[in-house]
Structures are given as C-alpha cells and as structure tokens.
C-alpha cells in the first residue's frame, strides 16, 4: 500500500490545471504519478471514451506504470486497465500518425526504421554526396590531412555522417523539409556550405525513406505534430479524449515532443509534468533539452512542487551529490554557471518512519581516487576494488559505469581476466540481446535442423523459464548435454524407423525427462511447420511460444519488423541469413536498438554478486549498492578550460571546429535569419557539453546506494588530467572528512 510522504501528498492534492514537479533521484516519481492517476480515476469519473493519458520515456516503464496505476483503481467491469492509457511519446506519436495516416502521407503498412537502418540509409546518402562533391573536404580538413586519402575517405565521411545526422534530426524537430531549406538557402545571402551539404544529404535521405515507404523515429514526432496542427477537429477530439495528461521524465522532452503534449492539453487543460532537470543527459544524442521543463516549472500559471526526499543512498552519497549541485551553481566558469547545469532542490533523506529509509551512513564507503593512472591500471584498480566489495557483500549489487561503450569493453576484458563474474550491458541492452539470442538460436536450428548442437541450444531456449531455479536449470543442462550427443537428430525430432526416446530414456527414473523431450519434440515439429512462413511472421510465432514478458514480446516484434525490412531490401536472404544476422546482434557485434529506448529494462537486482558493466547513460533509472565511475578525466568530463579536449572537435578538422555543431549553427542561422560566424558554435558546444557531462556525473553518483568509487585515467596519450568537478568533489570530501575527524 502506497503511503505518500508529505511532499508526495502535496502532489496528490492536485485537482486540475498545470503542475510542474521537480523530483530528485529515487524520490518515488513513478509511484507518486501512479497514485495521482489512480486518485483522479477514482474521484473524477470520466465520460464514455475518456482516458487519463500517462506519458513516459521508455517502453519498459509503460508496463510498470500500467500495473501500478491499476493497483490504485477500483475495478469496474471486466476489462483491466480501463480509464487510462500509458504511452511513450513515440508510441503516442505512432498512434496519432497511424490514425490520421492520410494527413501524414503514409498508409497502414508504413515501416518505422530503427536507428541502425536509418544510419545505413544515411551512409548511402552521404556516399552519394561525397561522390558528387569530392573536393568538399578541402574546405574543412586541417592542412596536414588534406593529402591523406584515408582522412578524405574515412574520417571525413564519418564527420559528414555525424553532421548530417544531427542536422536532419534538428531540421525534423523544427518541422523543416529539404524543400523548405532549399528555398531558404536560395534566399540566403550568407555562405552556408555546411547547411547546403546537409540539406543535399537530407534530401537524398528522405527520398530513400520515401522509396522504402518508411519513417524514422524523428518523422513520427514530426508527422504527429503536423497531424495535430493541420487538423483542429482531430485535435479537439483528442483533447476531449484525454482530459488529464500526466508526464514522467519530462526533462527528456524535445521541443516538438513538448509541443505535441501542449497541443493535446489545449487551453485550460490539465497537465502534470514530473521530471528531474538534473538528469537530462540526452542533449548530445537527441534534440531533448531540460530547459523546456525548467521554463514550464518557472512559468506563472504552473503550480510548482518538489519531491526532494530520497531513500536510495547513504547520507554521505547524498551529500556528495548535493555538493556537485552547489559547486555547479557557483561554477568557476561564468558561461557554464549561466547554463545552470544542475539546479536545486537538494536531495533530502526520507523522513523518520518512512517505509524506504536511507541505508546506514558509511563515509568510508566513498572513495574519490586522487591518483593519476593509465587506463589499463585504472581498469585493474576498479575491477579489484569492485570484486573486493562483492567478496565482502556477496548478495549486494555492483556496477562499473563507463562514459563510453569502448571503455566498457576494456573493463569487461579485465574482469574476465581476473575471473570476476560480470554482466555486460553495453551496445544493446542485455535483455534485448537475450531476446535476440533466443530467437537466433531457434532460427539457427531451423536453418540446419540436423545439427544436434543447435538442437541443444533450442532446448535451452525452450526451457528458459527454468534459468532461475537451480535444480531445474541443472536438469536442463543435463538434457542439453544428451541432446548435443545425438548422432541422428531425426530419430528424436521426426522418428520413422527408430525413436531416440525409446532407445535412450527407458528407465523409470527417466520418465520426467522423456515427457519433457516428448513435448519438446512436438514443439519442434510445430516450429518446423512454421519455418516456411515469411520471416517476420515466423519470428512472431516463435516469440509467442517462448516469451511471456511484454518487453520481450515487443522486442521480438521489433526484430520481426527489422528482418522483414531486410528481406524487402535483400530478397535473396533466407532463414540461415536471418539467423546469422540475429546471431551477430546477440553477440553484440552488430547494433540493434528496440523501439525508442529499452535500456531501463535492465534489472540490477537480478544480478546480485556480479559486476554490471554499463554506460552512465544506460545506468539512468537504475541503482546498485556499489557504484564505480571510471574515466572521470578532462576528456570525458571537460569543463571548457583551455587544457580540455573535446570529442566533437576532430583533430583532422581545421581550427578545432566541431563540424556537426557548426552545421547546426548554420541551420539555426538559416531558419531564424541570424548571422553565422564560424567557430562560435564550436565554442558554445564546449559549454553545453561540459554542462551535460556534469549532469552525467550527477546521474552516476546518484546511482549508488551504499558505496561509491570515482576514478580517472590519463588517457591513451597519457595527456589527460583529473576532471575539474572531480577535483572539486575530492577537495570538498577531504575537507569534510577532516572536519568529521576533528569532531
């Protein structure tokens, strides 16, 4: 039973209008929002067809929300989940676009391409542009690189792709088509060659999507917004349908996403936005910006609330996180300070008697490593430290958080060498990979059904629910071993003259195994009958037989769509090819992202006693007893100081220009008729990046429940130094410790 804290109760007093809630990490945002939805449903009966709309960030949160809200609702009638609808912004946009497909110029069978496919289409458009403009690189490459073919063909290409990707996303967010941009470019008196380049690529990219009958994720939002703006009657119908809109993780909304919700809320509507601007860490990859939530909360007509209490971390960890806020508010660099990378409120412990009390404080469980270490040494240091913690606390959870996937791979290599149990959650979420892996095993078997090894793999997949029961898992292992030894697979799966079961499992003690394998045989026969269906339908059928979890089914559906799309592009592909495609994804050799964002599906508590290796971005929304944050140096966490280097400023581009940012600046100049001055955007980007990295560090710190370790390394060229915020934190903490010791 949910017992609201006093500050949560203030939120639950909401009856209507606009409310903005700034919540700290671990303050029970979801529970509060669900309780509010339940309360509204119970107290404000809706008319026929009306629903409360709850919008959240990731698909994995949808089921969680739906379940929690239903706990608060008194059921009426036989249909569960009635009266409210939980959607991600992307799935909401998808519903809007599909229900008014004509306005969106799509039909019912439009494909939504995932990031990987969209990248492939973009790369093709870039290659075509580079062939047409072979001399374009001359204007941007540094003098030392002009004559180096490798730089002209590979590095320059990557920069063009990156620039075009950001440009297209931003253009779509601003609802600008290539045609609009072409007109504006023609009218412009400025020399905007990057905008011209990106616009040409954008045009090709859009043509390629149109030819495939496809949309990308940005199109979904763009078209939904257009459908609502162009069709006031439809908008009015939706406004009536959703009398209340409750939004979670509002700090991650982009301009157009916010615009969609604003339209749906309408004049005088009811809108509750909850979020933590300090956890906005997607600015670099998306067009999200926490300023939209901040502005909303500040606006006069909005009731402002805070959820400052959190029972997640020890007092010391909270103190450290709070100090990072204070330090950033007084940041030594005025331009960063003005950006307000982090803002109040401070995190407060939960009040006495709270069902979620903070863990007992242990200042000694905080280690802010002062030593300059090589990357290799840091990896060993952190791995050993983490392993020690788990030795002492075998039922606790632990994570090493890295700024980038590549760093995670290095850490994993060290953990493996040390024999420390670990879970990797890098390129694709491990749960996504588990789904892909299961399907890959099944397809691989169907592609080569006489292969006993693969039959064993499939049996393991079929019994995947036994994984968590050690006795059942051992029985599965034993049978898998038996299956892999079968010489003639057909004698088990399709017996004609001999039956493997009769020959090998006769004893009374083997009745259970025999029964299981007999059922398995039936299942295999069924899958073989399904194996000649179109690949997407086959995947859906297999998924229906083995997955029960909603996220797994949703991921399987994405996989099905992905494979169907592949087949469309490459009609010669057959089941063995699809099996290999999935196998590559499952082995993390190839990227696959399920719809929207699935990272939060990872459940740390399912991996007690193991080290989770994941990125700081993927760690958002998760928590561990022990957290180590690595690579906190001035490259991964720069502070716009002269010594800092920036990932966006490529060494082969002249004048330390951040070309993707310069391209965006040219776009802004084009759209808002502003003068463009080369280099200013690159400098601005340093400030934005430094601000976002501060928030990323804050997110990392607030993942820890009991123990926190932060370290840094000197980088590949031994030239990096400790990140300024880390140095500040360390100085604060040392002083704090001295003070406490004196007391």
């Amino acid at each position: 039973m949910f017992q609201p804290r006093p500050r949560q109760a203030q939120v639950l007093q909401y009856r209507g209008g606009y409310m903005g809630v700034a919540a700290v990490p671990g303050s029970g945002k979801t529970a509060t929002l669900c309780a509010l939805a339940g309360q509204l449903l119970n107290n404000a009966p809706l008319q026929d067809g009306q629903e409360i709309l709850i919008v959240t960030l990731v698909n994995s949160a949808v089921a969680n929300f739906a379940r929690q809200v239903s706990d608060f609702v008194k059921h009426e009638g036989f249909l569960p989940g009635w009266g409210y609808r939980v959607r991600t912004l992307h799935s909401l946009a998808n519903e809007i676009v599909r229900s008014r497909a004509t306005a969106a110029r799509i039909d019912d069978e439009v494909n939504i391409v995932d990031d990987r496919e969209s990248s492939a289409i973009l790369a093709t458009a870039v290659d075509s542009w580079m062939r047409r403009q072979p001399a374009a690189a001359d204007a941007w490459l540094g003098r030392d690189f002009l004559e180096k073919p490798h730089y002209r063909s590979n590095h320059w290409r990557n920069t063009v792709i990156e620039s075009a990707r950001n440009f297209i996303k931003r253009a779509k967010d601003e609802l600008l088509t290539p045609e609009h941009l072409a007109e504006q470019l023609a009218d412009s008196r400025q020399e905007l060659s990057l905008a011209q380049m990106c616009m040409d690529i954008y045009d090709d990219y859009e043509r390629a999507l149109a030819y495939r009958g496809a949309l990308d994720f940005a199109d979904l939002i763009r078209l939904a917004l257009r459908a609502l703006r162009d069709n006031p009657d439809y908008l009015a119908a939706l406004q009536h349908k959703y009398p209340y809109i409750l939004e979670d993780e509002a700090q991650d909304s982009s301009r157009s996403q916010e615009a969609i919700l604003r339209l749906l809320v309408g004049q005088g509507g009811n809108w509750v936005r909850m979020g933590d601007p300090n956890q906005a860490i997607y600015e670099t990859f998306t067009t999200a910006d926490p300023k939209y939530l901040r502005e909303f909360i500040r606006s006069a007509r909005v009731e402002r609330r805070e959820l400052p209490n959190s029972g997640r971390s020890t007092a010391s960890i909270q103190q450290l996180a709070n100090h990072l806020i204070d330090w950033s508010l007084a940041h030594p660099l005025i331009r960063i300070r003005d950006r307000q990378p982090l803002s109040l409120p401070h995190i407060l412990p939960t009040p006495a008697g709270d069902p979620q009390p903070n863990p007992p404080d242990d200042p000694a469980a905080i280690l802010l490593c002062p030593d300059a270490m090589s990357a290799e040494r840091e990896a060993h240091f952190v791995a050993a430290n983490c392993a020690r913690w788990l030795d002492d606390h075998p039922t606790d959870t632990a994570a090493i958080l890295v700024p980038r996937n590549a760093r995670g791979t290095e850490i994993v290599r060290v953990l493996r060498a040390l024999g420390t149990p670990y879970v990797e959650n890098l390129n694709s979420a491990s749960s996504t990979r588990a789904v892909v892996g299961s399907l890959a095993y099944m397809l691989r078997y169907l592609a080569d059904p006489k292969n006993a090894q693969r039959l064993g793999d499939v049996y393991r997949v079929w019994r995947r629910d036994d994984r968590d029961d050690s006795a059942a898992a051992a029985a599965v292992d034993a049978l898998v071993k038996d299956l892999r030894r079968i010489k003639q697979v057909e004698d088990l799966v399709a017996p004609r003259l001999r039956d493997w079961l009769d020959d090998n499992l006769q004893g009374e003690s083997q009745v259970g195994a025999r029964d299981r394998l007999a059922s398995f045989r039936e299942q295999i026969a069924s899958w073989m009958r399904a194996a000649d269906m179109p690949i997407d339908q086959l995947v859906l059928s297999l998924a229906g037989d083995i997955f029960r979890d909603a996220n797994d089914i949703a991921t399987a559906h994405m996989i099905a769509l992905h494979l169907a799309q592949l087949q469309k592009q490459q009609p010669h592909m057959r089941l063995p090819d699809f099996a290999e495609e999935l196998y590559e994804i499952a082995r993390n050799k190839r990227k696959f992202r399920a719809w929207g964002d699935e990272e939060a599906r990872f459940d740390p508590d399912a991996h007690k006693g193991k080290v989770t290796v994941t990125t700081l971005h993927k760690a958002k929304g998760l928590e561990w007893d022990y957290v180590a944050i690595v690579s906190v140096n001035n490259y991964d966490f720069p502070s716009a100081e002269p010594r800092d280097k920036y990932i966006g400023e490529k060494w082969y581009i002249r004048d330390e220009l951040n070309l993707p940012e310069e391209a965006l600046a040219q776009l802004a100049s084009l759209c808002h008729d502003l003068p463009y001055r080369e280099g200013f955007a690159s400098l601005d980007a340093r400030i934005d990046y430094a601000a976002e990295r501060l928030r990323l560090l804050y997110v990392g710190i607030t993942r820890a429940r009991k123990s926190l370790c932060i370290s840094w390394n000197t980088g590949r060229r031994n030239s990096q130094s400790e990140a300024t915020p880390l140095r500040a934190l360390r100085a604060f903490w040392d002083a704090e410790m001295r003070q406490r010791a004196q007391k």
């Binding site: 026929d48 067809g49 149109a210 009958g213 009657d233 399709a494 004609r496 229906g544 063995p576």
Partner: protein, 712 residues
Amino acid sequence: MTSALPQLSPAQRAVVDAPLQRKLWLEGIAGSGKTSSGIARMLHLLQQGVPAESILLFVPQRSLAQPYREALRDYPGYSGGQLAVHTLGSLSKDMVETFWFLIAERAGFAHPQDLPNFLSLEMVQYFMTRAIEKLVAQRDYFKSVRIDRARLYSQIVDNMNKAAMVGFPISEIGTRLQTALGGGVEQAHIYADAQACAMAFRQYCLRRNLLDFSLCVDLFAQQVLALPVARNTLRGRFQHLIADNVEEDNPAAHRFLMSLLPNCKSALLICDHDAGFRSFLGADPESAARLRQACDNQVALDGSFVMSEPIAALGVHLSAPLLGEAAAAETDFRPALIAEAHRYHPQMIDWVADEIGKLVFEKGIKPQEIAVLAPFMSDSLRFSLFESLRRRGLSARSHRPSRALRDEPAARTLLTLARLAHPGWGAAPVQFDLAFALTQTIAGLDLVRAKLLCDVLYRDDGLHPFSGITNASMQDRITFDIGKRYDQLRDWIMTYSQGEPIAALDIFFRRLYSEVLARRGFGFHADVNAGNISRNLVDSARGFRWSLDFLRRFDDDIDLARDYVQMVERGLIANFYLRDWIEEAEDSIYIAPAYTFLLSNRAVDAQFWLNISSEGWSSRLFQPLTHPHVLSQGWQSGAVWSEADEQELERQTLRRLVLALTRRCRQAVYLGYSELGESGYESRGLLLETLYTALRRSHAEGATPSPQTPPP
C-alpha cells in the same frame, strides 16, 4: 414450388409466388431469409417454364451466386439450360468484346482493328508499373509520400476504378481529392501526381488495346449501352432479372440495373439492411436504394431465422452507443457474450482453442458452426490458432482471399521446382528453398531428412539419384521409402528439363501438379488448399502469358517467365480466384478476417472475435492517394471531408460490422482480449470502448458487471 427448399414463411412465399410479370424489391436484415427467397423465386421461374438462359443472376462478386448455383444443381426439374450469372465486370467484358469493332475507334484505341486485351487486377498492376515507373522517377512524383511503390500504384488503379463505377471522368480524380481533403501545397502536388499517372496509364492502355476494369466499365456504360443493337441484345437475352446483394454493388452496376429494369418481364432485387461492406470496392447502399422505387412492389422481411434473442440483444446493445442512443432491447445480452481478459496474446489464443474444444467435445457443436474472426489475419495469428486447435484434435480452415501468392507455401514450392526444371534460366534454387520444397512435395518428409537429401544429392548440376548415396547409413537415415518418392520427383524433373523446353509456365505447373504432386505419396495429394493454390497459380500464369503474348508487338523487352516469376516474388500476384470459396473441407473451424466471413454470406452457431482491442475493427484502411467516400457517388461536389465525418464513419463502420456479425450468429459470441497485442503493444480501438460502454450501461441498469466468464 419445389420441395427441395426449406419451409418458407408466408412473407417469403408471397415473394416467391408473385405473378411472373412483377418487379419486386426485397429487403431485410441478414438472416431474414432473403437469399432463400431469391433462390426459391429462381426455381419458381424455371418451374413456370422460363428458360434458364433468359434469367440474369446479377451479383457483386461471383461467390455470392454460389447458393443459387447449388440450388440449381440440386433442383430435379432443371433441364440444364445455362443460367447467366454476371457481375458488372464480367458483363462489361462480354459486351465490350462482342461490340468491340463498333466502339474501339470512337473510344480512341490506337488499333481498333485488332482485338482487345482484358487485364486481370494483377496484370493491371504489372502494366501500371511499366507505364508509369519511368515517369514517376523522371518527374520526381510522390516524393513526400512514404508508401511502398507497388501499393502506391494500386491506389492509382483504385481511383480509376472508382471514377468508372461512380461515373465521373478520370481527369477529375485529382480535383475531387484536393477539394475534399485539402492538406496544403504538398498534398496538392501528390493529388496532381496521382492524376497525371492515371492519365498516363489510360493513354498507355489506349495505345496497346489494353482494357483494365475501369476502362472496360467506362466503355460498357458510355459506348456499348449507347448502341441500339447492344441494348436490343441485352433486352432479348435477359428477360428476368434476379439481383442479390445490390447493396454490395457499385453505382455503375445500379445504373445498368436501372436501365435494364423497364425492359425486364420480371425482376427481384434483393438488398441487405445495414450492409455495404465492400465500400473499398465501390459498394454503395445509398445508390442501391434508388432501385427501390423502380420496382412494382417493395417487400420487407422482418425478424431473423438465425439469431437467438440474447444475440439479437447483443447487436442492439453494441450498436446503440455508436448511435449515441440507449439500447432499446430489453433482453439481457450477457448470456450470449463470453469473455475473458488476458495479459498476453498467446494466452488469449490458448483460451480460444480451449473454449472451441469445449464447444465441440462437450456441447456437440459442429466445427463448421464455429467461426474465429479478427480484423486482420496475419500468418502468425493464423498459424498459432491452427497449432493450438491441432493440439486439441481440431481441424481448421482459413480464407484470406487477397493474400500474395508468394506467401503460400504451395506456390513457392512450384516456383522452386520450376527453377530446378529450367536450368536455362540460370536461377537454380538455393539449397534452403529446395529443402522446403521437398518437405512440401514428398508426403511425410521432415525438414531434417530434407536437409540431408539436399546436402548429399543437390549439387551444381542439379539433383542426383537416391542410389547415388554411397553411404548406406545415410540412405538408412533418410529411409528408402522417402528415397523412392524423391527419385520419382527427380526423374520427372530430369525428363522434363532434358526434353523440349515449354515456354508456357502454366503448362509446366499443371503437368507437375497432375503428374507428380497430386499423386498418392506426394504432398499435394488430398490437400485441398495446395490444390487450390496450384490451380490459381496456373490460371494466373496463363493469364499473364496470354496478355504478354498479345503485348509483344508493342514492347519487345518482355521476358515472360522472368517477368512472371518476378511478379510473384514481389508479391504482386494475389491468390484471389473464385474456387477458394468452393473447394474447402467443410467439417472444420473457419478462421478468417471478419469482412471475409461476412462476404461468405453464412451464419454459424458461435463466433470468436479476436484482438477486440484492435483499431482494425472500426478504422478504414488509410490510403493517402485515394478515399472511398470522397470518390463515391454520394459525395457532394465542393464538400470538405472533416474530422466529424471521419469519426462518424468509424462509428457507422463498426455499427454495421457488429450488427452484421451478430446477425450471422445463432448462439454465442466469444471475445478474445489480451492487454498486449500480438506485437507486445497495447491498443484501444472503438470496439473495445463500445463493449465497455455497453457493459457499464448494463451494469448501471442493475445487472452484474461481468459477462459470462468460463470457469477456470
């Protein structure tokens, strides 16, 4: 009156026994006995000495004539004269063909002295692609539209067909759409592009003597019927008219019937209330209603021979919220409604199969009296249902008429074997396809042994004989029984491929089917579905061959076999031939999309509605280049299609659907609901909302909230 017919009610009898010179309009809900009356009237005419060939049975699609054909076949007094059964399409084609030389020149054909070539729907798609693909690329047409090109072209065809059916020139398509749908400059470009493509295709056809449906109907209406000799011919041939399901027909058909009526000696026009499901094919009940006054008598049949009282009440309770009304029925509908909510889709499928098992094994309901319906029937849903039912010892059949032939295993098997038998194409099948084809071809062959066969006997130079396996244990694993049949198939293919190559793919398919695949021991033997698919493939390939033979004089870059195989593989050829309706095992559970079930014009004891949360139950198909209502006869020139129209349409569509379904159900409707759909996502369509409202209202009236829930 014949004794072969069921007992007729007095109202029906009055229709059947009406004087011979009478023109009757008969209306009523589904299940009220209209078609039975029509059949009885037809037999009555024959009994009165009317020659069968002077009766025109006019239907919107040929399958709807089936009950008449069957009754005629079983009628003892039938002397064998040919009953003329026509749709608008078939009659137009007959008449245009007959009077071709009188109309071709005036109609603008470039070769009026040569015969015309009538195109099937798939051929239209093929030629549309040929006619406009270059134009689209050169002029950058449809740049902002995100639709697969083949589907885009089919919408252009659709527009042309609608223009012909409604009776406006194809040159007005773009303006009509633009005026009604608006959408700004970009949208205007798209409609202009669609217009230009339609005109280009029409010119392409006129230059080559090609007649698609729209041109054929146009010629029939504008040119043929303007010829006195043609009108006299029709008058002489068809003195008696029976037109069933006129509400499912289009305005061009209605105009033709209207012109025919004055000259008929007798007529019976039958119209279903609350129907018109083929709106995407031009069905127009409002246009049909104009025929009512052209008849001498109007008869309405009340009541239903099908629905139980609770089922009738269910229909009323579900349709009332959609009209914004309170339900008038006093009968409690809940005994007829059985529902269970599930979290996951597979749980729902299992529940459906369990409930069907109980109906069949415990309550003695015949399998053919059960229909499982969904708005869309994907392969995966169909497969899961079939498997679940099979595990419970139940057999099922399904009907998905417009599915691409390439998605049918039997068709793919034939194509794979065709590649194998034609090494000259340089397109030998990959091993994986061949293994599957062998499992389809050789009865009892599993995938493991098929893979073994391919591994050891399929090489670059083709298939090798079973005796070529030197390893005795491998022969033993595959088994000699399988090996023998494999050799039979191989011998046939070898003999064929070493002989004189046959240019006609349809003949190859036919021979392969009849000489090998349909024989005992082979996969298509006694497989009704595979037989249907094979024959559809033969028909389709033959139609293609005829059309292309004809076209060779205009276009020399046509490679018959290559183009045909490409068309099938691109999914352009659909499996939609009449015989699907006829040759199916009858003693099995019927699984189909809801509208397909409705157009089969039959009733069942129990219906299962699956995926009730899907929007597909009420939403129309969205196609940006066309619009069934804006391009309909009733659309007011200059009017604008509004959101209110869209919502009203959605409500009316669902209302008609639930009424039509309940009117074809005798005892119970089962609702299959899972919170998460097949794709793992949640949807909330209008049907779910309506059900909830109906249940809540019934709850408010004092009843318990839940419908019957089966015991756990």
